[in-house]
């Protein structure tokens, strides 16, 4: 009996020590003092996350091209020349709609990534929450002059730069020129290297003809225009439609002011085109991914795109993965006649890991791939933010010029408000209510404004940026 007790105690102590060891093990991506390699340099392990941006390093047609090819190439080059530490860089591609969940879970458990490469609009909240470190000290005069001030404004919060701008992705419409021809809309087709601008009257005529004339063509099961509102995917286009009649969306205090005559008119227009059958059926249950798939499947004549989506689609068409058709770009029309356009500035940010060596190495890595003469050429997969890269590639990519001409119409769709991620969650339930007839356009815009402003005020109270002012 005494022996049994002894062994039980021993077993218990063993189990406790295992549990204790497990609980005290350090994070695998941390650096510690006893980590020196044969070359005498300490090893620092970094985790780099990115959402799918473009495939390949320079081009999606490269062999084995994937979304993390660029970061892997940059990591290899960086590790070979970095003198401070031996760096090991692990990459992880995160689906855009999983980004906030993944980040929030990892932030709560104290294991954020070291670097995140993503559209700035989606990451502004993490600046407000104090999760990102400033990158201002990485920027020199040469970078300041090579990248236009508008891009620096987009990545600057309270005088500090938090994202290193790399490329930008202007949002436009994309249309199937073959369908336009089939519907007798030749007059509205723009050039291959043009971003066509239609008036709102033109646009309504286009939608009407697409609806009425396509049924007798080879596109009998196609719909005129993509519209979606099941979740926050692609909501920037929805926000653009809500500005079609001139509503400025935000006032100078950073609050939503959609609930006026122009806002109601825009919501009514959306409801009108759904009811008229100018869109895919059931936009309240359709995501932008669905819409994109339908457009590529030639079930939609007009959809949404940005340069990355557009280039990936073109690459898939060229490689035979995707049925080829004549795909061209157009601006989102407005009542005033001026096109509506917005852009996603894309760049890298560094999370505060509370490990100075990791933060240092992460910042050096970001600076490296954002300035390296060879690596910055990859920004041509979207639209480069660097004038030097644009000049190098504009002959090869004539659309760069078209996007540049559009730049004067760009509106800031986030308003740089705190809590933008949460604000995005307020829009689609109201759009669903609008499309299903549960709410009138007046009620939908009023409720969106009320709920949205509540979100902005709540997040303003806890914003690091605002509390530092």
């Amino acid at each position: 009996m005494r022996n049994n007790t002894f062994y039980s105690v021993l077993l218990t102590l063993l189990l406790l020590s295992i549990i204790g060891t497990g609980c005290s093990s350090s994070n695998s991506s941390s650096s510690d003092g006893g980590n020196e390699a044969a070359n005498g340099k300490e090893t620092v392990e970094l985790s780099v996350w990115l959402t799918p941006q473009w495939k390949g390093v320079l081009d999606a047609t490269e062999e084995g091209a994937d979304y993390d090819s660029f970061i892997l190439k940059a990591a290899e080059k960086f590790a070979a020349q970095y003198s401070k530490y031996n760096v090991k860089i692990n990459t992880q591609v995160i689906a855009g709609d999983q980004r906030d969940q993944m980040l929030n879970v990892n932030l709560s458990s104290g294991t954020p990534p070291d670097v995140f490469f993503e559209s700035v609009f989606a990451m502004g909240d993490y600046v407000h929450r104090g999760a990102l470190v400033p990158l201002t000290d990485l920027v020199d005069d040469q970078d300041r002059s090579d990248i236009a001030s508008g891009y620096w404004d987009a990545v600057t919060f309270n005088k500090d730069v938090y994202f290193y701008p790399f490329q930008n992705n202007p949002g436009t419409l994309v249309y199937n020129a073959n369908m336009f021809k089939a519907a007798g809309l030749d007059a509205y087709i723009g050039g291959e290297q043009e971003i066509k601008t239609w008036t709102l009257a033109d646009y309504e005529e286009i939608l009407s003809k697409l609806k009425n004339n396509l049924s007798g063509s080879g596109y009998a099961n196609a719909y005129p225009m993509a519209l979606y509102g099941m979740n926050n995917q692609g909501d920037t286009w929805n926000l653009a439609y809500l500005r079609m009649f001139g509503n400025p969306f935000f006032d100078e205090t950073g609050h939503i002011i959609l609930n006026d005559e122009k806002g109601v008119k825009a919501a009514s227009w959306l409801k009108k085109i759904v009811d008229a059958g100018y869109t895919n059926p059931g936009p309240e249950s359709v995501t932008s991914n669905d819409a994109n798939g339908m457009f590529l499947n030639q079930q939609l004549a007009i959809s949404f795109t940005n340069p990355v989506l557009y280039n990936n689609a073109r690459a898939d068409m060229d490689s035979g993965k995707q049925t080829k058709f004549d795909m061209r770009l157009a601006n989102i029309p407005s009542e005033s006649g001026d096109p509506l356009t917005f852009t996603y500035v894309v760049g890298a940010s560094v999370f505060q890991s509370n490990d100075p060596k990791r933060v240092e190495a992460a910042k050096d890595f970001v600076r490296f791939f954002s300035t390296d003469a060879e690596l910055v050429k990859s920004s041509k997969n979207g639209i480069p933010v660097r004038s030097s890269v644009i000049s190098e590639y504009e002959k090869q990519y004539p659309l760069f010029k078209a996007y540049n001409e559009n730049a004067k119409y760009v509106f800031n769709f986030t308003g740089n408000v705190p809590g933008y991620s949460q604000l995005r969650e307020q829009l689609y339930p109201e759009l669903q209510a609008l499309y299903t007839g549960v709410k009138t356009p007046e009620q939908a815009v009023k409720d969106y404004q009320d709920h949205g402003n509540q979100v902005i005020d709540t997040n303003r109270n806890s914003s690091v940026i605002f509390s530092n002012k």
Binding site: T12, N104, D125, N280, E284, Q432, T436, V464
Partner: protein, 290 residues
Amino acid sequence: MKSPRILKEHLTGYLFITPQMIVFLLFLVYPIMEGFRMSLYQIQYSSEKFIGFDNYISLLNDPVFLQAFFNTLVFVVCIVVLTVGFALFVASSVFDKNAKYVSFIRGSYYIPVMVSMVVMSMIWSFLLNPSSGLISYLAREQGIGNINLLGNKITVMPVIIFVTFATNVGQAIILYIAAMIGIPKDLMEAAEVDGVSRVQMIRHILIPSVQSTTVYITIINIIAVLKIFVVIQLLTGGGPNNASVTLMYYLYNNAFKFNQLGVASAVGVIMFVITLLLSIPQLRTVLRVK
């Protein structure tokens, strides 16, 4: 003088359950207590502030939470009633048939249980998508017009209930068949000799005999349905206009999309209390039966 001796006698037993107790305390009791604590705080990434019951008050003032509460209640009642009713019907129809036939039925109903809920949701999404789904396409081809069962606030709940029920019912059927096979044969034979009909036999012998299984199935289904999430996330996103939002989905949104960990914890505490309240009377029934 007696206590130390008893303690010494029981020491080995206590030591054997110590590892389980440590795991239980660390991974079940501690998270529950921590969840309750967090529900009383406003939590930001780098700081937390004690706010008492404000999170609970804001929940009660949020119409989306009330909608989620009501929807969850409807889901629980409908899915549990459907599951128990249908599983009883299938099990009592087949339990005494040829062994191969019983195996076939069990296998057929159990396949959806084995398939991931994500895959099932994707299949249903392929069928129900209003723009490119098969059902919508066939409806248009037949001239019925556009059908959007997921985008209609009247039909979305029945569709989700059906999808969840169809995916989960196999588990209950398996359990019922196993319980019914275990009922002593002489009871059935005596009933047959007395000339009772099959319906009477099911009503007066089978159903009372599998009461503890019914209680178990009811409890596990209540708990499972309270946590319904994947199907909502993938099929409706809580829409249209929050018509299919559930407590778990509401919790998820607050915790992982809005970063409102305090509010999410408060929802978690409410769900825990509901589960506890629903489970206790039924557990007492089980204990009484035993």
